[in-house]
Amino acid sequence: MSLFSVFSISGSGMIAEQQRLTAVASNLANANSMGDSTGQPYRAREVVFEPLPADSGDADGVNGIGMGGVRVAGITQSNEPGRQVYDPGSPLADDKGYVQMPNVNTTDEMVNMISAQKNYQADLEAFNVAKTLLQKTLTI
């Protein structure tokens, strides 16, 4: 019955938005991480969504739904140039005394966060509506 697949569809949406929120949290937490284990500044992560293909019985956690939930296709790292800070005393400074900072754009991240929150709410709403409808159906 199609209303049952709403649960897996909205559920997949909530999982995906959660992962997006995780990326935002990671970016904000690392907005000043100048060097990771390779000595490079942190680069902003962004999740990319893709619709679940039809009949994706093998997709993680979503079984046998035809019409598409959503999943995270991958996580990309932003190639935007990071800002440079003049700090000759830093051990990470280059010859001219500049330190490469992460390319995290906090404004973008906040917008991303609100968008993820709104989409999560919408998914949850759709989930609850399907639940209510099925409960009503049981009263026939």
Partner: protein, 151 residues
């Protein structure tokens, strides 16, 4: 069967299709941030007409402003049951939504939520009608035990 389940049959189709539409709208909402995703919707009137026997459908106003058939395999409902029926499949169309974001996504989240709420209300209405029909049938079977006919 005969007269007993004719009306129930109609409402079962209506509930099925409302469920399919709810599924499609939920999928749109879930994919509100997916790059390149085109919002879809069920042309309910057309789907209902295609699912019913000729003459069972009451004709009326024009159907929703959605025109293009869904061609993307990823976005067609192929779930078991009613979604797999070709008559329903043919009525699933791309939304005619002019607002396209930079990543090619055409889902209008507010519009989808509105449509989903409306569809849920229609579903509940169909449930209520079905309940009434069942109670009418029960009355016909049992007789109206509530009123005193013996006296």
């Amino acid at each position: 069967m005969g007269a007993l389940d004719t009306g129930l049959d109609f409402y079962s189709t209506v509930l099925d299709l409302r469920g399919v539409r709810q599924e499609l709208l939920s999928a749109d909402i879930a994919n509100a941030s997916t790059p390149g995703f085109k919002g879809v919707d069920l042309d309910f009137r057309e789907a209902l007409a295609a699912s019913l026997a000729p003459g069972q459908m009451v004709s009326g106003g024009a159907s929703a402003a959605i025109t293009m058939l869904v061609s993307d395999e990823m976005q067609t409902p192929s779930s078991a049951g009613v979604g797999a029926r070709p008559s329903v499949r043919r009525s699933v169309k791309y939304q005619d939504n002019p607002a396209v974001s930079l990543d090619g996504n055409t889902v209008d989240l507010n519009g989808e939520k509105l449509e989903a709420a409306q569809n849920a209300l229609d579903y509940e209405a169909a449930v209520n009608f079905t309940t009434q029909l069942v109670s009418m049938l029960m009355t016909a079977i049992k007789g109206s035990s509530g009123t005193s006919r013996s006296g």
